[in-house]
Amino acid sequence: MTKARVLVVDDDEVIVDSLRRGLELEGYSVATAKDGTHALRVVEADQLDAVVLDVGLPDLNGRIVAARMRASGLATPILILSALDQVDDRIAGLEAGADDYLVKPFAMDELTARLRALLRRATYHSDHATSVNPPVRLGPLLVDSHAAVATWDGRDLGLTRRELALLETLARNPGVTLSRGRLLELVWGYDFVPDSRALDVFISYLRRKLDTAGAPRILVTVRGVGFVLRRP
């Protein structure tokens, strides 16, 4: 198997250098960029398997970089790095299509565990999406991961990649309460529990988008257990 290629984007040279060495030790091939414009150029020119993106870039906000990558049709997993107090940027990054976030400082293990999982998920999806995942229909709700679209009553919900994967997973198990751990595993490929509210944030986005499209409250929290998508 060839080495997976990861782009690390951060304006701090010391961080870029540390991450590069750490990731190379773990067997990744690493490209680096020091700002958003540079990153977008690399993304266009290089064949990448994942992007590690700092939100606080000097030129373009990480959220804008993520949005542009997604707009250009790039499906590569994006992992956002942020400081604790950059809550709004981090959340905006997820909304723009990033897959998860890590709060600085983090242990190298945390980064590699996430990258491993996200890469596995991405490969799995690209190999099996067409054959294994036919569209799911639940009344007015239609989730088509192959076409990368989910609709309610024919109206596009405008989901990001990760939101779509989360909704699809829930929709394939209608009425079944999936635990947080199970969802993290099925949607993100995580076999660990991230020390964050990322899952809750994605759930709240899904709820808001379903609500905007006119859907009733079908995505429900079952406290102490997990989440369930009720049949509409």
């Binding site: 400082p105 529990v193 020390d195 929290t221 406290r223 102490g224």
Partner: protein
């Protein structure tokens, strides 16, 4: 341009006084004029009436027609005692514009001898009294409408219109002079007219002059009086302005400007100023306090960070040393990693605290506090699988308005605190309930708890409970309290039924 209040008030008063005086004067002049005109008409009518018997006699009315004239006075006196023309004729009086009959007849009659002509004399003498609205009678005309006979006594000014056949008073202007005449009817179709130059305009003119001078004098008095009065009335304001100026000069916000004896309006203004000063004073005091707190915070933070930093530095030095055994080498790296973890938690805590102390949440969103608690419990359970966490949440809600991330940290910190300081492998109970439109978070543990005397202290940052280990940042409860305050609530500590610490956080719906 800015003008002083007293000048404005004075100007206003002057305008009003001038309007009143001028209006009143105009009214007085007008009314007097009208009354004089009426009086003049009446006087002329009276004079003409008095002459009626004499004129009737002269024109032979009431006597046989064939004995004319024996009683006709051949001469009349004008006001100066000079003889006046008497003209009797069968013809009507000359048309207007034609000259009056020539003075004196062809046969000057003898002087008037008797007292029977007294009314006529009186008429031509006029009253001579300046108070009378009528000057001297200039002429008297009479007309026997049955015979066409007429009589003119005195001098009719050229251009004077022919005698009116209707009784009444009229005014005529001849060569810029006003004339007034009155026609009265006598017996048997006899009409008698008395005319005199108008005297009213002159009287009105003098009255007008009086009014103008009175107005000017009144205005002058009003000007001085108003200036003096307003100056005096505004003195408290000036005093207030001086006092306020002294405050900004001396930068002493403790001074108050309201005092007894100030007029109501000034007292109200002074009261407002005092209120503003008090608010300013307390704002500045609060800001100074906040600045002081921030300085202390920075100093504390620096001190707290230096400790793990020192440890990391020492251990890295050991690791680099060629003398270290492989075991020592490994231990040094482990300790360095551990200490960087501790620094990490410290920085997290400091940032959380900085956020929490940044003030009330202003634009929160509707968040489900139960869902947030559920998520925080999940994370804590994963971190501390040996603990049993008993959770009591409603099926949904309570919904509060706030910052979801901050509220998550409140619950996560409370649980983490209970996990760290409770009994190892012990029991934690967490409950979220709606309360007065807001919510209440209760977390209990079965650890040693915190003695009442210590509770106040542990809520302060960098203060650890009596049995705390180095792993804690000493910020957990300080963060909880700061976040609770941000959400209009507070943290209180007590003794749990489980035996350990009971922490209660109230959240207001903003």
């Amino acid at each position: 341009m800015r003008s002083s209040l007293s000048v404005r008030v004075t100007a206003g008063v002057l305008v009003v006084v001038a309007a009143v005086l001028i209006g009143g004067g105009f009214l007085i002049v007008n009314v007097t004029e009208q009354r004089d005109a009426r009086d003049a008409g009446g006087e002329l009518q009276r004079i003409a009436g008095n002459l009626t018997p004499w004129v009737a006699g002269t024109l032979g009315i009431g006597r046989p027609a064939n004995t004319p004239g024996d009683a006709v006075p051949s001469q009349l006196l004008d006001s100066h005692g000079q003889p006046v023309a008497v003209n009797t004729a069968q013809n009507p009086p000359p048309p207007p514009g034609q000259n009056a009959p020539p003075p004196g007849g062809q046969n000057p009659p003898p002087p008037l001898p008797d007292a029977g002509l007294q009314p006529l004399r009186d008429a031509f003498a006029g009253s001579g009294d300046t108070a009378s609205p009528v000057g001297q009678i200039a002429f008297v005309r009479a007309l026997n409408t049955q015979t066409g006979e007429h009589l003119i006594l005195g001098t009719v000014p050229p251009g004077f219109p022919a005698m009116s056949t209707r009784p009444g008073v009229s005014t005529t202007t001849i060569a810029g002079h006003q004339w007034r005449s009155a026609v009265v009817s006598g017996p048997a179709g006899l009409l008698i007219e008395a005319a005199a130059p108008e005297r009213i305009s002159a009287r009105a003119a003098s009255l007008r002059t009086t009014v103008i001078w009175t107005t000017l004098a009144g205005l002058a008095v009003a000007l001085v009086a108003t200036l003096l009065v307003t100056r005096r009335a505004l003195r408290p304001l000036k005093v207030l302005a001086r006092k306020t100026a002294r405050i900004s000069d001396a930068e002493d916000l403790g001074v108050r400007v309201q005092e007894p004896g100030q007029p109501t309006e000034v007292a109200a203004l002074a009261g407002e100023l005092d209120g503003m000063l008090a608010r300013l004073d307390s704002t500045i005091a609060a800001r100074e306090q906040a600045l002081l707190a921030a300085r202390r915070f920075a100093a504390d933070a620096g001190h707290e960070l230096r400790t793990p930093l020192q440890s990391i530095r020492s251990n890295l030095d050991i690791a680099r040393s060629s003398d270290a055994s492989p075991d020592e080498h490994q231990l040094a790296l482990d300790v360095a990693t551990q200490q960087s973890e501790r620094m990490n938690r410290l920085v997290d805590g400091l940032q959380g605290l900085a956020r929490g102390e940044a003030g009330l949440v202003r634009s929160g969103t509707q968040v489900d506090l139960g869902d947030i608690a559920d998520s925080a419990v999940y994370v804590t359970r994963t971190r501390h699988p040996d603990l049993s966490i008993d959770v009591d949440l409603p099926e949904s809600g309570p919904t509060v308005t706030g910052d979801g991330d901050g509220l998550w940290r409140v619950i996560e910190n409370l649980l983490e605190n209970a996990a760290r300081h409770g009994r190892p492998g012990g029991h934690i109970s967490m409950q979220v309930t709606p309360l007065n439109g807001g919510a209440e978070i209760l977390v209990d543990d079965d650890g040693p708890g915190i003695p009442p005397a210590e509770r106040e202290r542990v809520m302060r940052r960098f203060q650890r409970g009596p049995g705390a280990t180095a792993a804690g940042s000493g910020l957990g409860l300080a963060i909880v309290e700061a976040e609770a305050n941000r959400h209009g609530g507070k943290l209180s500590l007590g003794t749990s039924d489980l035996g350990g610490l009971h922490a209660r956080v109230s959240i207001q719906t903003l």
